[in-house]
Symmetry: C3
Subunit: 132 residues, 3 copies
């Protein structure tokens, strides 16, 4: 009951909707009641939930977090992507969504987003569906 | 084993203790050992854990996060609540608490809080109790 | 299937790798497929995942979050550690890692970190291994 899929980010920071893919996995699992865990096995990318309607929310969201954690700030890490490491931890590497009657219990305005903070790259998303 | 209850926020940003309600649900479920998942099906409200003693912690907490993510910052989103969307993701939409011998394994100073970032409104909290 | 261990922080803010300890617990549990929940029963300490290679990432990570949430900012809380409370909630008190074939599904560069924001102290970490 562990599924993996890849996400190809095309920008340095990007918010990519993965809800359809996660819904497909839950459906394929056949689990009617339980938990769906979405896990990001990276250190400069994360997962969150947010609005699925106005695309301006994504623009504002990424612009503002990039402002709060500036890309340049005399970081010591030789790769120069310390801001991406911190932003990923602030957002989190796992998200738990409840499954009821075979459906993800997302709110009306909620979608699940992969958050890229140091792209563009091919990334992996791991999804576990638990019948519990 | 999926429970729902509503929270009525009375302020624009507010930290509301929901621990008693979650404890009641765990008790009602009859589950002795497992996981309790608290999920917020909104995009401008969140859930966290924090101190249950000095109420000044709540005041400082909300004041400081509101300062870090300012309400006005030339956001594009037409509803004007982009700050609420970002703060909700920074705090998170789900919290997992371990259940042992029928009790939530919260620390002595920990309570569970619903976080309102764009109230006042009636909101829903979903709780799943898993015997696993 | 609930395990506890202690962490002795030696600095006021500190990022301590607890991956080996969590791996040991998963191995001891005998669970081959399921979920591992790491829970911090405190209000000024948290848990996250991040890079395990260059130690400068840890330095940058803690320095930058300490800058974003300053220690002094006219807080009202009499203990004076409101910044620690907020940082802990921003990072989160629980982390869920998927277990497959008896192994934690961490990415190549990922380790699990205990985050101290108001040390030095002896702290507790709770780990639950669920076969689900």
């Amino acid at each position: 009951m562990v599924y993996r899929f890849t996400v190809d980010s095309t920008m340095h920071t990007q918010m990519i909707d993965i809800t359809d893919k996660v819904r497909e996995i839950v459906s394929e699992s056949g689990v009617l009641d339980g938990l769906c865990t979405i896990f990001i096995p990276h250190t400069t990318a994360a997962v969150t939930i947010n609005e699925n309607a106005d695309p301006d929310v994504k623009t504002d969201f990424m612009k503002e977090i990039n402002k709060i954690v500036p890309w340049e700030d005399n970081y010591r890490h030789f790769e120069g992507n310390s801001a991406a490491h911190l932003k990923a931890s602030m957002m989190g590497f796992s998200e738990t969504v409840i499954i009821e009657n075979g459906r993800l219990l997302l709110g009306r305005w909620q979608d699940i987003y992969f958050l890229e903070y140091d792209g563009a790259r091919t990334r992996t998303v791991i999804v576990k569906v638990s019948a519990c």
